[in-house]
């Protein structure tokens, strides 16, 4: 459906409700969540609310998760090295 928004450039909440076979309050609630997370933007055109994709925030969210994972992968590499060292030290003591 957001592929549809993307293709069309903009969609109204009404159009999305029909496409998703969902009630207006349900669609509105979920659009509000996506809007709060800045994943989509809303433009009021007369009585219609039009929604557009906001890809910047999505890219930033992905980049942040990648950073988080790079941090942990890097840490776990160091943990692996440290465990080797500790094992060898314990082996020598025995």
């Amino acid at each position: 459906m957001l592929a549809t928004i993307s293709r069309k450039g903009a969609c109204s909440a009404g159009e999305l409700g029909v496409l998703f076979e969902s009630s207006q309050p349900t669609i509105s609630k979920h659009l509000r969540v996506l809007e709060q997370a800045q994943l989509i933007t809303r433009h009021v055109e007369g009585r219609r609310h039009m929604f557009r994709l906001q890809p910047t925030q999505l890219r930033q969210a992905r980049a942040w998760l990648e950073r988080h994972l790079a941090f942990w992968e890097g840490s776990l590499d160091q943990l692996e090295g440290l465990l080797e060292e500790l094992k060898q030290a314990e082996g020598k003591r025995e």
Partner: protein, 166 residues
């Protein structure tokens, strides 16, 4: 809980579980591996339910701070903690670069021993998060859909399509 997205990272170490547990709970060892290419300074490490891990990481003359509170400690198999960014006075602070990233991540670490190897599994889930924080976290994940309950199904579909469109 079932409505929340979670991210899982697994790694197997060629070391006995007791040793891996020690590397997590001894501050001198923890500071040696936690934080790649940074100087890690552990101001406090109190591994018991309610205890705090106050962690400073220095890189290029700048410091970042993390405040972690343990909620479950079951040696040597399970650690659960709430991990958050903090300011220099150890107050939980939103991430300045990514304000909708979950402020607090519930982090579960499990350790399973198999033939003198240890399988460690890390699971992150947004904790006491706003819907925007949850959507931000979910949007960032590749394994979207896992761990999402029916209540969030439409949101999940919206996000999946959003990802596909980009």
């Amino acid at each position: 809980m079932t409505d929340l997205p979670s991210y899982v990272l697994e790694r197997t170490f060629a070391a006995p579980r007791a040793l891996v547990w020690r590397a997590w709970t001894d501050p001198q060892l923890l500071s040696r591996w936690y934080g790649p290419n940074v100087e890690t300074i552990i101001h406090r490490l109190d591994v018991r339910p309610g205890g705090l891990w106050l962690n400073e990481m220095r890189m290029g003359g700048r410091s970042s701070y993390q405040r972690t509170q343990f909620t479950e400690v079951a040696a040597p198999e399970r650690l659960v903690c709430l991990m958050a960014n903090a300011d220099a006075r150890w107050n939980i602070a939103p991430n300045p670069m990514m304000p909708d990233w979950p402020r607090i991540l519930l982090t579960t670490v499990t350790f399973e021993e198999e033939r003198s190897q240890t399988r460690m599994r890390l699971t992150w889930t947004p904790h006491e998060a706003s819907e925007a924080e949850i959507a931000c976290f979910a949007a960032a994940m590749d394994n979207m859909g896992k761990g999402w309950g029916a209540g969030m199904k439409l949101l999940e579909e919206l996000l999946t399509e959003l990802k596909a469109a980009n």
